[in-house]
Symmetry: C2
Subunit: 382 residues, 2 copies
């Protein structure tokens, strides 16, 4: 197995792109990633996307984007793993380079949610659940996150306001990210006043669905310096799954897949959570941020909100999270989010994070699918 | 890169499974593949599927099937490449084993078309096209195949009846495949009388959409004999793409992606078309069978129908095609077909093809997406 590095990154602004199509966004990110490197060819394209068929009547998306990206016959696939689709594209791109089959691979995540009517777009909240036992019964990902949050509050005797730091941190960091959807800070007070979506999940507990595309260009580490002044090495790539329906899990408040994929990643990289200097986690809902931190060894069970309250996850805290705004403030273009996370850690490790720059050489990303049944973790070194 | 072998195969009957769900079919095929080997674990699952979201409101399909298949936390993804989704799952499973990351990988193809109403189901004929330039304008894959066939007939001065052998061969071979959807032979006369779907594409030129699942279990070739008495080695795995919209291609009657992926496969395996002893090709439409044969070097341009008429592609001809019925008679459960092809060549190379058994040590599969914009080729050795 070969070592793999990131030699190019690209991203579009995250938001509501009413005037641009799925393909426009994706190709912009792909071309930006190519231009960011000095690579002269692309051998394969992996597209992370969840809902192009349901929302824009377009499957065969890998081939479409290879076509529109001018990649000239390169092999291409769409990879789907719910919200973790983008991270899955990075993982499969990593395998393609590690295997020795390909030298230059693009992993691109893209989602376009604003092309569908509201009913279709809302229905997409069920597609990541177990359709027969959850989605078709009216259970959505936000409502299930609400049940998890309520149970967590009961189990660990934590009040709703204790979750405020996750959203406050994300919005504070989003202010300085020019690609973020929301660039306004929020306060603990405004968090407390936010309207309910799926009690106790409020407007400020959930990340917004939106449009966006991000891309990374991978190549063997041994070639990376020829094509990039500051390559970032993928020290670990790991994935795991859990029972899809929440009712089937041993303990709904413990994200087994998140733990398993993080442990596999730590083992591969030969590091511990304390070595991780920033962590781009999956804060689609603030409860998922708390559960991720606990599953990955950054907080004891039931203690994530207390640590957050102490500033452990602030931009200059012990383990900064959501340093460019996270899903909450940068925005959550579903199948693209996992690639945005990798792009943002790469920016930090290269020293290109602007006003949000932190001192870091080792960063981690973790993308979750649905309510955590899929977890994909990458550890990057700059 | 490690060599990779197939150590287990499984398949459900192909047809209209009104009483069984997507997950039932897939898990049956996966378990059959596991039982067919002596493997004691599965490290990763790649699911080839095109339309689970559109037709059954279920995404996150990889994780669902890892869950229902009892794979205990193994990483899992859905891979989409239109009709070639199943072949894409085999290709990515191959890469995962070749890379050294995983030892035991299942590639499962599954499609369930009968769970949707007719309107939704028919709309799926457009999802593999370029939606903005073809599908949204009313162009479907069958209508585009009709245009290609009409042009081919004009360009090469071939009458419609000359395409009969492709369907006649497929149905003749389907008779002896217990898993095939259609097990009745057809004659050139009945072919000539068949009703038109998209002139000149008739009922007997097109493969039926239907339900089905097939799976293969892969492991490193060096371990294969410990888990399987008759492992089949993947001598080559290759893929390529073309412009998605037919109007963008240099020559609509030449399947550039099919040629490119076949050439890459021949190069990897160190063989020529004349070494290939059977060819499971993508006969979603008889015109695609002809174009595939020409692109892959089994017939000169414009000559495939003449060779077919001479018996070159009969079960005991020079290069047998569709030996278990092909997409036409076995049935075309979209995202599953590419895996069925690999299962069927494995059956032939193992000597398990029953009444359709031919003498062969080297077989090839090629799966196309849509009208040929994606092509994935595998060469297997028994």
């Amino acid at each position: 197995m070969r070592e793999v590095s990131i030699i190019g990154i690209g991203q579009t602004d995250v938001g509501e792109h009413w005037e641009r199509s799925l393909r426009d966004l994706a190709v912009d990110a792909m071309i930006a990633a190519i231009k960011d490197s000095h690579a002269e060819r692309v051998d394969a394209l992996y597209v992370g996307n969840m809902l192009s068929g349901e929302l824009t009547a377009q499957e065969h998306l890998g081939t479409l984007l290879a076509d529109w990206g001018g990649l000239g016959g390169t092999e291409a696939y769409k990879v789907e793993a719910a919200d973790a689709s983008g991270a899955a594209a990075v993982r499969l791109g990593y395998l393609a380079v590690a295997s020795g089959v390909h030298d230059f691979v693009i992993a691109c995540g893209v989602e376009k949610t604003t092309d569908a009517d509201a009913e279709t777009s809302n229905a997409s909240w069920t597609y990541g659940t177990d359709a027969e036992y959850e989605g078709n019964q009216g259970v959505t990902v936000p409502s299930m996150a609400g049940l998890l949050m309520r149970r967590y509050m009961h189990e660990f005797e934590v009040t709703h306001d204790r979750f405020a730091p996750f959203s406050v941190i994300a919005h504070a960091n989003g202010v300085n990210n020019p690609h973020a959807m929301y660039r306004s800070p929020i306060s603990a007070e405004s968090y407390a006043r936010a309207g309910m979506i799926a009690d106790p999940i409020s407007m400020f507990d959930g990340a917004p669905l939106c449009d966006g595309a991000a891309a990374v260009l991978l190549c063997p580490a041994e070639l990376a310096r020829r094509f990039c002044a500051r390559p970032v090495r993928i020290r670990a790539s790991a994935a795991a799954t859990d029972r899809l329906a929440v009712h089937s899990r041993n303990d709904p408040l413990f994200l087994q897949a998140a733990q398993l994929s993080a442990q596999r990643a730590y083992l591969q990289a030969g590091v511990a959570p304390s070595d991780v200097e920033l962590f781009e986690l999956h804060d689609a809902f603030s409860i998922l941020a708390a559960l991720s931190l606990e599953a990955c060894g950054f907080a004891e069970r039931g203690k994530a909100t207390a640590l957050a309250g102490e500033g452990a996850f602030d931009l200059h805290g012990r383990t900064p999270i959501c340093t460019m705004g996270g899903l909450k403030a940068r925005g959550h273009p579903i199948g693209a989010s996992g690639v945005y996370q990798v792009v943002e850690v790469t920016q930090q490790l290269r020293g290109e994070a602007g006003a949000n720059q932190i001192e870091a050489h080792l960063g981690m990303t973790q993308s979750l699918g649905g309510t955590g049944a899929t977890a994909i973790t990458h550890i990057l070194e700059g």
